[in-house]
Amino acid sequence: MVSPILVIALSLFFAFVIPLLGMVSKKLPRLVPPLAMLVNLWILITNIKFVSRGAMLVTTAGLKPPIAINLAIDRFSLLFVILIQLIGLLLSVYYLSQDNRDQRFYMLFLLNILGASGIVMTGDIFNSFVFLEILEISSFGLVASKKDRKALEGGFKYMVIGAIGSSLYLLGIIVLYLTTGSLNMAEIAKLMPHIPESIKLFAALLLLAGIGVEVELFPLNAWAPDAYHGAKDEISTQLSSIISKAGIYLAARIFFTIFNGFYALKIIFYLGVITFVIAELAALMQKNVKRMLAYSSIGQMGLLMLILSLVAKRGDVFVITTVILLALNHAFGKGLLFLSLGALSGGNGEYEIENLGGNGRANPLAGFLFTVGALSIVGMPFFFGFWSKISALISLMKTNVIYLIALVLVISLVEIYYYGNVIVNLFRGEGKKYGISIVPAAVMILFALFVIVFGIWPHPVFQIAQSAAVSLIERTTYISSIIGGM
Amino acid sequence: MNNLILFMGFGLSLVLVVATFVVWLSKDLLVAILGSAVVSLVASIFFLILQAPDVAITEAAIGAGLTTGILLYAMKKAGRYEDD
């Protein structure tokens, strides 16, 4: 058995080694990220069969939790970390075709993936703060690395909001430490019934302030449209497919495992509804396709968070499964949209609808892939998005919030309208032709294949998502497998 | 913690308040940056009073020393006065 801590240790090792390799040859640093992701995926896949019921405990410093930091990997976290590494692998293969990058870019990229994986794998709450900071600081750098006006402004906004949010997250952690005397997630979860209600509420709100930045909840998402808009297309993919996934994981872990479906989730519910509605309406107003995709991404995250919060009412496996399906659809569908938009606009930053007119006809492959992504996001049948949207509606029905079903259906119509508008525009008139090289095309096709294949045959994904959901719901098993005795 | 130290602490907290207001109101960024260095220095004395010498050393070296240095370099590039 290979210890999963190697996923983090080896990523770090590779990141530290890049400058040394860069001194040998300028071509080597580019090869390091795909290699690291492949090794990590291999380590994770060999560990699948060891993660059965409960969580797998990996100690550090030779001491048992809660004394030392530990990793705690159950099926839910394993699913997310594999998703993150897989998308990381695809993106790093995408970067292989671009040979004019600074080697430091690859270091930031690798550490960004490392931060997301660390958040997902750790079993210690302060450790999750450290990884959150790694994730955020590398994201500021990646967003700003385009070095034009929009990217810099987006990066700065993200930095200001992220810094304040994560400081509040730290304060929340300290409040939990002061009342329980521990920083281990399982131990805090075990002691949760003894914490007074007022302190619980206070800590939950502070933690929400930190997580809300990552999952783009309403008052904390002011950075998101600008950062998505300003960043390069691949970095926007990374923001939507990887960073927000780590945020969802953290929200689920903290508000279920630690707070045990606490009533503060009511706040997430309302914030989710507000985010969903406002962002989708804002997307409708946009003339700029990339900004539209950004708002649509925020809207999807709002829907996800509001469905996540519904589990508070009933510990329902199906609802968590829905969350996972939505997250997968968002990761692959939105990632595909951002990448193919890059191919459609030829990478020169012209994302206005009128500038893109006819580009889909001129670049049929990119146009087709954009259409596939859009159809999946709006939830057309025979695409993966259909299944996630259907299960979202069923979840809403099961948890007796019928009035939201109407809202989700109306918003779906809005989505169909604005995506349809863009697609029709893409195939009308004469456009500019941009070449697309083979490697990026292959990566985009892989994204599209996921959406199409599992759209027609969703059974395996359903099963995996369900088993992950079960392991999130079984909170006592998680706790007893980390610190024993409940 | 005896009364003498507490009395000193309240005196230092006045310095802290003044320095914070300097950071807020000063139009000259050089003065504002030095104000924030003073805040870090007072905080590091507070850490010492609170029996945290490790943190005090680190805060004095990083907060008052290094951060001020990098802020000054950045200020040289970004302009000294708030209005431009």
């Binding site: 990066g155 810094a163 400081s167 | 009364n3 907290s13 807020w24 943190v55 680190t58 805060e59 970004a78």
Partner: protein, 117 residues
């Protein structure tokens, strides 16, 4: 006159002023200074939480003679981490500010209108 008023009061004051400066600051470096003040206040607050009346620092340099009444070492370790993370964030922010100055010719947020603020 008590320690709670002094230390909790100063740290909350720093945090509040830091956020206030970050919200209303006109210059990008001023905003970063606000975040810095906020971080210093937060660190001070965390260390004050760990103080124990009459306690000494958790360093037993007269070993094997050990004082049993020591302050909480864990918040100190956490704050060490937080300080270093704060300076890293500051460095990154300043790099962005310097690039903004180069591209826009100004650091005044009233004049940065590429995207809506």
């Amino acid at each position: 006159m008590n320690g709670g008023l002094l230390f909790y009061g100063s740290s909350v004051f720093l945090m509040v002023m830091g956020i206030f400066i970050a919200i209303t600051g006109k210059h990008l470096i001023k905003i970063l200074l606000g975040i810095d003040l906020f971080d210093v206040g937060l660190n001070l607050l965390i260390i004050s939480f760990g103080y124990v009346n009459g306690g000494t620092a958790p360093i037993f340099s007269k070993y094997p003679h050990i004082f049993k009444n020591v302050v909480d070492p864990v918040p100190q370790a956490l704050v060490l981490t937080a300080i270093v993370i704060g300076v890293a964030e500051m460095a990154m922010g300043l790099a962005i500010v310097m690039k903004i100055k180069e591209k826009f010719g100004t650091c005044n947020i009233a004049k940065l209108k590429e995207l809506k603020w």
